[in-house]
Structures are given as C-alpha cells and as structure tokens.
Amino acid sequence: MTAIGKVSLRDTVLQRGHSRERSRLLVFNHTVLLLLTAFAVIPLLVLAFNSVKTNFEIGQNPLGPPVNIVSENFPNAWERGNFATTMGNSIIYVVATIAAELVFGGLAAYALARKKPPGSDLLMLYFLVASTIPLWMYIVPLFVQINALKRIGIDARFLLIMVYVAGSAPLTIFLLRSYMIDLPTELEDAARVDGANEFQVLTRIVLPLTKPGFLTVGLVVGLGVWNEFLLALTFIHDPNQFPVTTSFYKFVDRFDRDWALTSAGAIIIIFPVMVLFLALQRQFIEGLAEGGIKT
C-alpha cells in the first residue's frame, strides 16, 4: 500500500514536466563529478606516466603522457628497492595479522555475542574506552617493552604483528559481534541438539553465516597493515624485515631525484591493492566505511 502510494506520488512529481530542468541538473551533476574525478585520478595518471618514462624524458616532460614507453624502471626499482624481500615481509605481516585477528577476534566475538559470560559488559566497556586511547599515549612505553622482548631474542616481525592485532582488536570485536548478534539462534540450537560442541557450533554454523563480517574485517585490517607506516618505522629496524612502506620511504630518500625509479616503485606497492580493490570494490568501500565508523 505504502509502496504504491510512494510510486504514484513520485510519478505525479515527475509528470509535472521538469524534464528540461532535470537534464540541465544532470549536466551540472556530471560536470562537478567529472572535475572531482579528474582531481582524484590525474595525480595517479602522472605517476603511471612517469613510471614508464626515462629520467631524461621526465626532465623535459614531467607531467604529460610518455612519448617513448620504457619498461626497465620496474625491474630496476624491484631490484634496488629490495622489493623481493620487502614484498614478502609485507605479505607475512598482512596474512599473519588477518589470520590472528580473525581467529582470536572470531572466538572472542562469538563468546560475547552468544554466551555473554559474567563480565561481558565490563569487557565491552573496556574495549570501548580502549578504542579511544590514542597510540601516542602508549607508543613510548610500548617501544621500551617491545625492545626488551627483542633483546631476549623474540622476532621483531612477530612483535609487530602482535601490535597490529591489538590495534584493530576493538574494531574487530565490535564488527564481528554485531554480525553475530543479528544471526537467529535457532540453527545453533539445532546443532547443539544434534550433539555439536561449542567449537563445532562456531566453525560449522556461525562462521559460514557471518562470512561477510569476516571478509570486511579481513579487508580493513589487511589494507591497514599493507599501508601502515608509523608502527613499522618504530619497531622494525632490520632492513631485511622492513615492510614495503618503510623500505620505500628509505628508497625514496635515497633516490630522491630519480623519479622514474621511485614512480615505478610506487606503482609496485599500489598494484596489489588496486587489483584487489577492482575485484572487490563493493566490499572494500562498504567495509572501509563500516570500519571507519566503528573505530
């Protein structure tokens, strides 16, 4: 009834014949949007152009499309930027952080959404308050703590991953818990009647049904770790353990004038992100929007 009412109301408004005004509006809309799109894209285009020029050509033509396309910047940058090692490191950081976050976060969120053990409310309050504590409040003592652990021989990479996992813990808990609370409990009860234990209920019933939540958390956390700079700069000092970001920072410092090389390096860093983004646009955008609000 209401739906029909809505449609007919819309129709009468549209029938009033604002079609010329509408199309003029659309022209305005698209002009604004195209200008803003250009603002977003042109810097990236210039980067892509410069990554396939020689430095000589960049000197004469630093902004325009390339006249001669060369590809040697990429292997050069790969080699001199030590990307084989740092890409591997970044992949380790990303994969390990996502894995730990999803396993530990999934377990905790399930317990908080379904079992609500005594103390749950207090725990949620803890994470709520903790999520407002800026990194700057604890980075100096954390540095001391992490250094002490490094000195007794614990791998710095492991420690950085631990810091990443902790950093996104509140977001993970809030997001996954809200996904799980929305789930009807009948299926889980049915599984329990059939003799499933808590762990089986979680892995066989809850997990498959809350996959979108896990995908969201995985994307948000993974992108955050891939792009992360400050913590990696603070806690990783061995160049062989650098992720792409801090390694690229030093690389740009060293080859400051070699735009061809640094542009190619930048393309190498954003390439995996762009591929994933183009493949999973909707999940990316909605996930990051959701994640950004919850943090």
Partner: protein, 316 residues
C-alpha cells in the same frame, strides 16, 4: 518432595560437587572466557599496560635509555605549557590542521555526495574512482605529491609555463614556512575526502525519497532541499565524523613526517611529530610521554564535549 531432592546447589562446595552445575559453569563461563582470553591479553599487553606506564613515564625525567629515572612530578607538563615555545607552535598547527579538516573535506564531501546521490547512470563508477586515493599508502601519496609540487617540474611550473610567468606558481610549497603546513593538509585531504564522501553518500541514499518529493511539492529549491531534507537526514554521521576528524587532527603524523618532518624551521610541526622526535631521536622519553598524555587529554576532551552535548539532548 521430588522438588526438594532436586534442589539447586547453593554453597560453593555443593556447586562444585554437582555434575550438571559444573558442566553448565564450564559451558557458560569458562569456555567463553577462554575464547576471549587471547585477544584480550594481547590487547592489555600492547595497549592498556603501556598506556598506564605512559602516564607514569610522563612524570619522570627518563631519557629512554639507561637506569636513571627520577620522579619529577608535573615538571614535564609545566615545561610544555610554560617554557617550550615550540610546543605552543605545534599546538597551534594542530588547531590550524583541525580547522582545515573540519571545513575543506566536509564541504567537498557534502557537495560531491549531493551531486552523486542524484546521478543514476555511472554512479557506481564515480563512487569507485573517487574512493581510490583513500586506499593508497601514505608513503605513495606523499611521493606522488612531492613530485607534483616540485617547483621546477611540478604543476606550478607547468602553469607558469602556460601563462608565460616565472616563479609565480612554481614555488616550493612544501619548503616555505608560510605554505608548508597547508600544503601537507591539502595532500592529506586529497587522500581523505573521498572516504568522507562515501559515508555521506551512504547516509543520503538511505533518506526516504518521499521526503524529497514532499519538499518538491512544497516548492523547495535545491538549497532548501539540502538544508531541510538532506542535512537532517545525514546528521548522525555528520556529527559523528565531526568528532572523529577533530580527534584525528590531534593525532596527525604520517603525512607531516613523510613530507617535511615538521620543517622548515618547525613551520609544520605538530605535537605528534615533536613527540616522535623527543622520544626516539632526542632521548627525552619522559617529555615525549607527557606530550602523548596531552594529546590523549585533548582527544578525551573532544569526546567529552560531544557526549555532554548529546546527553543534554541538544538536537545534533
């Protein structure tokens, strides 16, 4: 009588002896907490304990190395607010940063989302492209813009060339004290505003279309439509993002550190870049910790303002 024989165990001792109670306790208390424990312990170790230590450290003159730690009370804070002129400058820069980010990206995002909400064909494409800068790493974004703002080879130089001018637009925006901070803010905003736009767009799309139709029938023009339908419709997220951006403004670090390290001559220094240098380059860990506490107090203060205003039932 049957009821009596099945009476629930009441004392701890009875409870522990009761098989069903034990199983229930295990299932409803022990196992859930075992599930929660790993993440909670990691979080306490990485965040909670160092946060408390940070407060204590801020009351000492610890250098960050060695064993020499003296309790100095509020001395670090006194120095920050009454002696250290560079801190006053940094705080001022944080405020300027906040004013920039509470206006420019919000205006851009609101304006763009309003246009995008009216477009049916190509809407998804615009949305995706406009979001791309947000997924790029800060090290990449800063490299791109460092080149684009280069005085000899950047956009400014190209404009001078076209207009037949010399050194008018082609100046070192990042290297001059008067433009460094706002140039960094501009670059950070290039990366950030699309995110805000997506949030506003999602909120706008959930406003019932009937409201717009009603406004049209009442003869509202586009500004009135925006002012009386769109803005109230997205108010919760708008207000929330005002709070978040205000908080983030006091945490700003990456773009400033990457582009100028706070230079030239402290012109783009903010509290976080100062803190980083004090704690990790200048052996003033106690002083840096105090700056961290100050940042947190500012962030807490902003949250407090918003919570109080909401409690008071103000219509925001």
């Amino acid at each position: 009588m049957a009821v009596l024989s099945q009476k629930k165990p009441t004392t701890v001792f009875e409870k522990l002896n009761d098989e069903t109670w034990r199983r229930k306790f295990l299932r409803n208390v022990v196992i859930p907490w075992i599930f929660i424990a790993p993440l909670l312990l990691i979080h306490i170790y990485v965040v909670a304990i160092p946060a408390v230590q940070g407060v204590y450290m801020s009351l000492t003159d610890w250098k960050g190395v060695g064993m020499n730690v003296n309790y100095v009370g509020l001395e670090n804070y006194r120095e920050l607010f009454f002696e250290d002129e560079t801190f006053g400058k940094a705080l001022g820069n944080n405020v300027a940063w906040m004013i920039f980010f509470l206006t420019v990206p919000f205006i851009m995002a609101l304006f763009c989302a309003t246009q995008l909400a009216q477009v049916k064909r190509g809407g998804m494409l615009y949305r995706s492209i406009l979001f791309i800068p947000y997924v790029l790493a800060s090290v990449v974004t800063t490299t791109i813009w460092k080149n684009l703002l280069n005085p000899q080879k950047g956009i400014g130089a190209a404009m001078d060339n076209i207009l037949g001018l010399e050194n008018t637009f082609g100046v070192a925006y990042l290297g001059r004290p008067e433009s460094a901070l706002m140039s960094i803010a501009f670059i950070d905003n290039w990366h950030f505003w699309g995110f805000l736009m997506i949030l506003f767009l999602a909120a706008m799309q959930s406003i019932p279309p009937v409201l717009y139709d009603a406004a049209k029938i009442d003869g509202a023009n586009r500004w009135q439509e925006f002012r009386h339908v769109t803005l109230p419709g997205i108010r919760p997220i708008l207000v929330f993002m005002f709070m978040m951006v205000a908080i983030w403004s006091f945490l700003a670090f990456d773009y400033i550190f990457l582009l100028t390290q706070g230079g030239p001559g402290g012109a783009s220094e903010v509290i976080a870049t100062q803190l980083y240098k004090n704690a990790f380059f200048r052996f003033q860990a106690g002083y840096g910790a105090a700056q961290g506490v100050v940042i947190s107090i500012f962030a807490g203060f902003i949250i407090l303002i918003f919570v109080t205003v909401k409690r008071r039932g103000w219509d925001i």
